[in-house]
Amino acid sequence: MKPRHKRLALIASGIAALAITAALVLNAFQSNLVFFFSPSQVAAGEAPRDRSFRIGGLVQAGSVKRSQEGLSVQFVVTDTAKDIRVAYAGTLPDLFREGKGVVAQGKLGADGVFHANEVLAKHDENYMPPDAQHAVDQAQKAQKTLRNP
């Protein structure tokens, strides 16, 4: 083995060892790296009970109720399997829409309502012009009426 082959082997094995270490560490901290919990995870008791955490999912269509006075708002976050009711008082981001992704930070109350102190919109990876979006919406509506006439 020439010295440069030796160095190459040394570096390659070094990086491999590092990659494995990183993979193991990340695996061990899996739960801490999670930015938000889904309603199903919360229902399964994976979310912390006594401290604040984030939940994420879709805002259920038709679930947003704004109060008459003030900024308080109630809505339901769903992952299509489980739902969580969320209460929040504050300004909502522009992209907060029914049927779209949302991440809320707060505490789960004893009443089962998630009291949020921050609500962020989670954008999806789809980028399309308004007319394309309109076409998609129409198609989805047509599909729905076909399924349950």
Partner: protein, 247 residues
């Protein structure tokens, strides 16, 4: 070695690479300017408004290519650093040095433009999710690489120490890239990937790709120009460099 079509090792010496880099430089600079102009034109005048985000989405024409380049340049830098360690070639380390500031700039650009986009769309400038945090780590890795280089006076020792840091940091690149797939993050998943059809409108995609090419060409041009000055500086004792400086 002599029966090869091109003897690549010849360009491993700063003396013969210096004029070659000088000849290539204007071409890459011109390509960067042209593709940048086309890309910005598509970005501002051709690409349609996004249905959800309105005009704010246009940040992707800078943000996404910048983020790609920041990761790609890091891999290239680490490759040069690794080659330098293994083969003990002088030019490799110089190339790695030349790339670092550009990579750092793109990482910063990605973070900054992302923050400006995040405020109107997400409702916050910054969150500590896996994607944003690992990109920030990448930015600090670039800074650390440059700082370590500058901290050690003996250039050969500085090369080796910084190369080890660059190679260690490479682990971070796949973490950035796959963070949105591995964990729940606020940052959305990839719109463009090699594995499936892109989930964005055609013209938007084209604008982004042309901008990516522009950034690519810019990076090459800047790295070449920077490596030329590094070569002159570090080979200042050599006859060819002294002659060039005297002119």
């Amino acid at each position: 070695m002599t029966n090869r079509l091109i003897n690549w090792f010849r360009f491993g010496s700063p003396q013969s690479f210096y004029p070659l880099a000088g000849r290539m430089l204007p071409w890459f600079a011109a390509l960067a300017a042209i593709s940048g102009a086309i890309g910005l034109w598509i970005a501002f005048f051709v690409a349609p408004t996004d249905a959800q985000q309105g005009e704010a989405y246009r940040i992707i024409f800078v943000h996404v290519p910048a983020a790609w380049m920041s990761m790609f340049l890091y891999v290239v830098m680490a490759c040069w650093a690794g080659i330098g360690l293994v083969l003990n070639t002088r030019l490799s380390a110089m190339m790695a040095h030349a790339i670092a500031p550009t990579g750092a700039m793109f990482a910063f650009l990605a973070l900054w433009s992302g923050a400006l986009w995040g405020r109107p769309t997400w409702g916050t400038y910054w969150v500590w999710d896996a994607r944003l945090t690992s990109e920030l780590v990448l930015f600090f890795l670039y800074l650390g690489y440059m700082a370590l280089n500058a901290a050690i006076d003996d250039p050969r020792r500085a090369d080796r120490a910084a190369a080890v840091l660059a190679l260690v940091g490479v682990v971070n690149v796949p973490i950035i890239y796959f963070s949105v797939a591995w964990w729940n993050t606020l940052h959305q998943g990839a719109s463009v990937s090699l594995m499936r059809a892109p989930s964005m409108a055609q013209t938007m995609l084209w604008g982004m790709l042309v901008m990516a090419i522009a950034f690519w060409m810019y990076s090459i041009a800047v790295a070449l120009s920077r490596v030329r000055s590094i070569m002159l500086e570090r080979e200042a004792h050599a006859e060819w460099a002294r002659e060039l400086i005297r002119q």
